[in-house]
Structure formats: structure tokens, C-alpha cells
């Protein structure tokens, strides 16, 4: 990774070239600054790409569930959860069919439990990792009132806990196709951090079913600069193509022939 110069804020911006997924990848990667070991769960190509981008910049260790690449594969399910319990995992990603303003997430279903009106697959590791991983970044590529509700129907994993509950981890930020929000754990509330290019505050308000804090000056999420885009479309796309070939090809434009050009 030493051949990659450090990211410079002065690099030229090529806004009209970055796709919405690439803006999310760049936004998530910024939230991973300073994390030593990033773990990526199932069905997470965007966070996975962000983790790989952070690795390219800072040398962070990345474990991707489902990857068979020796650099990224985990030592199995038990080890991943034990590593989190030991405090060795600095960041993880969770999503939700519903997410509310207290950062409670619902991966279980809609309606009254157990024979719900809509049933999703289940909580997976969320009810554990949300407590133990210091920076859990929530992500959802669909910013809508269907997803961001006043109160989730079922708490697969709670956003906050009473003071006596052992909880070194928890929600850190929320990244969507429209904006970045940060979560204030003491107050148990989201606050708007930045709007993606071209997105208005009104649109985010309209599409969010919960109340959130708005700073006096709302920043724009910095779009990926030319160097970041080159990283995303080059080595990151190549690495994410292992577990997520379709995403790498259709979203990041990765071609299999790029493999021959890959650096050692």
C-alpha cells in the first residue's frame, strides 16, 4: 500500500463522475479513519468497498464474511464474535428493514411477533455486535419513511442501553443515499452531518420518519476526488469482486481483465 500517496484535500474534485454508490463508499470510508480492524458482514458490498478503501489509505485490517481471499477471510463465525468480545474489532456495519430515531434496528419483520405481517430473515449477529463493536455504521441505500420510522416494530438490536449494561460499542453514524448522520449516544439522537451533493435538507426531512438534530450550517458530503475514485474503481473494485462479483462489475465498472494489471 506504500505506493498510494496519502489523500490530499486539495485534489481536484470530479463530482459528475462519482455515482451514488461511490459517494456512499467515500462517506463510509471517512468514518473509518483510525480504525485498526474493520469487519464486514453478509450482503454488504458498499460497506465492504468502503472498508477496502480505508485499507488502501491507512492499512487497516479488513475481514469480510464470505470472502475466500486469504487477506480478508475470517477464521469462522465463532472467531469473529469472540474477536469482537475481546475488543479486537473496531468497526462493523449493520442495516435494517426499519431504523428509528433511537438507532434501534429491526431485521426481523413488520407487525406483531411472532406471526408477523412481513417476515425478514432474522437478527443474525446484530443483537451482539451492536453492543461490542465501538463504531457500528448503519447503512441503507434507500432513504425513505418506510425505512426510517418513528419507532421500529421489533427491536432486533437496541440503539442505546441503560448505564449499567456492558456496552463498549454501538451506533456511530448512519449513511444513506441522501446524507450522513452522526449518532449522539449520550442524547440517544441522530444529528445531520452532511448532505450528499444535490440533496436538500427538505428532501431528507420529507423522507425521514423520525426527528433529528440539524446544525446551523449543514455541510455537503465531500464527493470522492479523482484519486479516491481511481482507488475505488481499481484495487477496491478488484478486491470486492471476490465476494461480490456482480456489484464490482455493474456498479464499479470492474472488468475481469483488470486482474492482469493488478499490482502484486
Amino acid at each position: 500500500m506504500s505506493e498510494v500517496p496519502p489523500l490530499s484535500e486539495a485534489d481536484p474534485v470530479c463530482l459528475d463522475e462519482a455515482g451514488p454508490e461511490e459517494i456512499m463508499i467515500a462517506a463510509i470510508a471517512r468514518l473509518l479513519d483510525g480504525v485498526d480492524h474493520i469487519a464486514v458482514g453478509v450482503l454488504s458490498p458498499i460497506p465492504g468497498s468502503a472498508a477496502l478503501l480505508a485499507r488502501r489509505r491507512s492499512g487497516a485490517r479488513v475481514s469480510i464474511i464470505g470472502s475466500t481471499h486469504p487477506d480478508f477471510r475470517t477464521d469462522g463465525g465463532v472467531d469473529l464474535f469472540d474477536s469482537a468480545g475481546q475488543g479486537r474489532i473496531g468497526a462493523f456495519f449493520l442495516s435494517g428493514g426499519q431504523i428509528d430515531g433511537s438507532a434501534n434496528i429491526n431485521l426481523t419483520g413488520l407487525g406483531d411477533y411472532p406471526d408477523m405481517d412481513v417476515r425478514w430473515s432474522g437478527a443474525f449477529g446484530s443483537a451482539y455486535l451492536y453492543f461490542l463493536v465501538p463504531r457500528v455504521i448503519l447503512f441503507r441505500a434507500e432513504h425513505s419513511r418506510r425505512v426510517f420510522v418513528p419507532k421500529v416494530d421489533f427491536i432486533s438490536a437496541p440503539g442505546t442501553s441503560p448505564a449499567n449494561v456492558h456496552r463498549p460499542g454501538g451506533p456511530y453514524a448512519l449513511v444513506t443515499n441522501l446524507c450522513v448522520m452522526r449518532f449522539d449516544r449520550d442524547r440517544g439522537r441522530f444529528g445531520l452531518e452532511s448532505l450528499h451533493p444535490g440533496v436538500s435538507l427538505e428532501e431528507v426531512r420529507d423522507k425521514t420518519g423520525f426527528d433529528f438534530d440539524i446544525p446551523d450550517i449543514v455541510n455537503e458530503s465531500p464527493p470522492p476526488d479523482a484519486q479516491t475514485l481511481a482507488l475505488i474503481r481499481g484495487p477496491v473494485a478488484r478486491d470486492i469482486a471476490g465476494p461480490y462479483p456482480q456489484f464490482a462489475a455493474s456498479v464499479l465498472g470492474y472488468r475481469q481483465t483488470d486482474l492482469s494489471e493488478a499490482e502484486a
Partner: protein, 279 residues
């Protein structure tokens, strides 16, 4: 210690699975799909599945074939191919009793079973509706600290662990490859029934490189050959994949089984349900 019995095939093997058995299965690395198909063909009923910690086609197929009464799981999904429709249908319809859990809680319950202790503590879970809907989980006080609530999970002791391995020997030793979790499954379960791609004449435990990833025969009740026994899932072998996943088959299954009539048609096509059983 009775010897591991060598059976003719998976159909012969599942005669060892009575109706109502609590059956545990691991999520990947040699998913015993031929055992699932044999259970469906034998019309085994009222299984109580423990998925370790999640499942895909294995659970969905057995649910769709009417073999499953209850399930303990951290999630059932066909992954990138989409939702597991038979699972979601059965939960919505109230015909499948569900015990929702979270991945490390299932591992921890099995680890308690493997150690022969009554429970295992685990961090997390407090304040979740997972915990609120598990009357068998308890919140206890950490006996070594002040004011530190922690969840106690009861030991999971399945009746039967089922697994498919790339390589076994005629003594009943199983080579598990990277799937070290299969040892936890076998240790916690009263019996283990396995299929293997290949059953060799020698003894796997004689090979220092293979032995650490082996489940020794004293855990293995019965073993049967099942070439392509993980299909349509992949099967990793000692020198790389023996065969890859059949993505076309998985995609077609995930798409068509949205319709329950198509699930019945699939079961008949695959010889998993007699044609006359369909209305």
C-alpha cells in the same frame, strides 16, 4: 464404544432420524443437502431444527416439504439469491414455531452443551425483543462484579447433528476442512449423522496434516457416501473446491418458490414428494 455404522446412502442414513428429532445443521462448508432431500423423501415430520447459526436452502427446503415443526435460528435467507420464501410463509402463517436468536447465542448455547454445563453467559441482547421473546433466556447478575447484568443462555443439546464432509474414512473419522464449528455441533449433539463425498480405506488420523481438522469417529454414529452431497451448494475439498455452487439452480429456486404451488412442483420434479400427494 460402538463402531460407526457405514450406511448405503443418505436414504438409509435418515432412517436414524425419528419424527420430532431436534436436528442441528451448520450454515456452510459442506451443507448436507442430500440429507435434507432424503429427509423430505422419507417424509420425516415435526423436526425441531437448530440452525448454526443461520441457514438457507437446507431449512427452507425442509420447511417447504412439511418436515419442520419448530426452528431455532439467527436467520434464514438465501443470501444473494433473496428471501427464503417457505420460511417466511410458514412464520407468517403461524405454522412454524420460531425461536429467534442471534448468531453468537447459538454458538454459546452449543458450547455449553459441548462442555456439559447448564448455561453460558453472553454479552449483548439486553433490551432487544429477541431476548424479550425468549422466556428460556435469563438475565443474571455477574457474580464477580457489582451491578453487571448479563444474559445466561441454556445449553443446546440437539438429538442429532447432520453434516456433509469432503472426506471420511471407513472407521468413521470425518475431515471437516475449515469448518471447525462442526466439532462444536457434534460435541453438543447426542448423535452425529454424516455423508461424505469420498470414504477412504485408510485412517485420516494417521495424517498429521489432516488430523487437526478431523472429527474423530467416537462422535460419529453413522456415515454414508453421497457424491455431490452438498449440491446445489459448493463443496470445499482439501485441494480447493470439489465443485462450485449451482447459482442457476439457487436463483431459479429463490424466484419460483415465491409461489407455494411452484414449491410443490419443485418438490415433485426433484423426486422429493410423490406426484399423487399434490392436489
Amino acid at each position: 464404544m460402538p463402531e460407526t455404522r457405514l450406511m448405503r446412502d443418505a436414504d438409509d442414513l435418515v432412517r436414524e432420524v425419528p419424527d420430532g428429532s431436534r436436528v442441528a445443521v451448520f450454515k456452510d462448508n459442506g451443507i448436507p443437502m442430500e440429507i435434507a432431500r432424503a429427509l423430505a423423501r422419507a417424509q420425516v415430520r415435526d423436526l425441531d431444527l437448530v440452525t448454526v447459526p443461520t441457514s438457507g436452502l437446507f431449512a427452507d427446503l425442509l420447511i417447504g416439504a412439511g418436515c419442520v415443526l419448530a426452528i431455532e435460528t439467527a436467520g434464514v435467507s438465501l443470501g444473494e439469491f433473496g428471501p427464503a420464501h417457505n420460511f417466511t410463509r410458514a412464520v407468517r402463517g403461524g405454522t412454524l414455531k420460531i425461536k429467534d436468536s442471534t448468531c453468537p447465542a447459538i454458538y454459546a448455547g452449543l458450547q455449553a452443551g459441548q462442555k456439559g454445563i447448564p448455561f453460558m453467559p453472553l454479552r449483548g441482547l439486553v433490551g432487544s425483543d429477541i431476548l424479550n421473546n425468549r422466556p428460556d433466556y435469563a438475565v443474571i447478575d455477574n457474580p464477580f462484579a457489582e451491578n453487571d447484568p448479563i444474559v445466561a443462555l441454556p445449553a443446546i443439546r440437539p438429538d442429532i447433528a447432520v453434516m456433509h464432509v469432503p472426506l471420511a474414512d471407513r472407521h468413521g473419522n470425518l475431515w471437516l476442512g475449515r469448518a471447525a464449528e462442526l466439532k462444536i455441533l457434534a460435541h453438543a449433539s447426542a448423535r452425529t449423522l454424516a455423508t461424505a463425498e469420498e470414504i477412504i480405506d485408510g485412517n485420516l488420523l494417521d495424517d498429521d496434516r489432516l488430523a487437526p481438522a478431523c472429527l474423530p469417529r467416537h462422535y460419529v454414529t453413522a456415515l454414508a457416501p453421497a457424491p455431490r452431497g452438498a449440491w446445489p451448494y459448493e463443496c470445499p475439498g482439501p485441494d480447493g473446491l470439489l465443485y462450485g455452487a449451482d447459482a442457476d439452480h439457487l436463483h431459479a429456486y429463490a424466484t419460483r418458490t415465491r409461489d407455494p404451488a411452484e414449491m410443490r412442483a419443485y418438490l415433485i420434479e426433484q423426486g422429493l414428494m410423490p406426484a399423487e400427494a399434490a392436489e
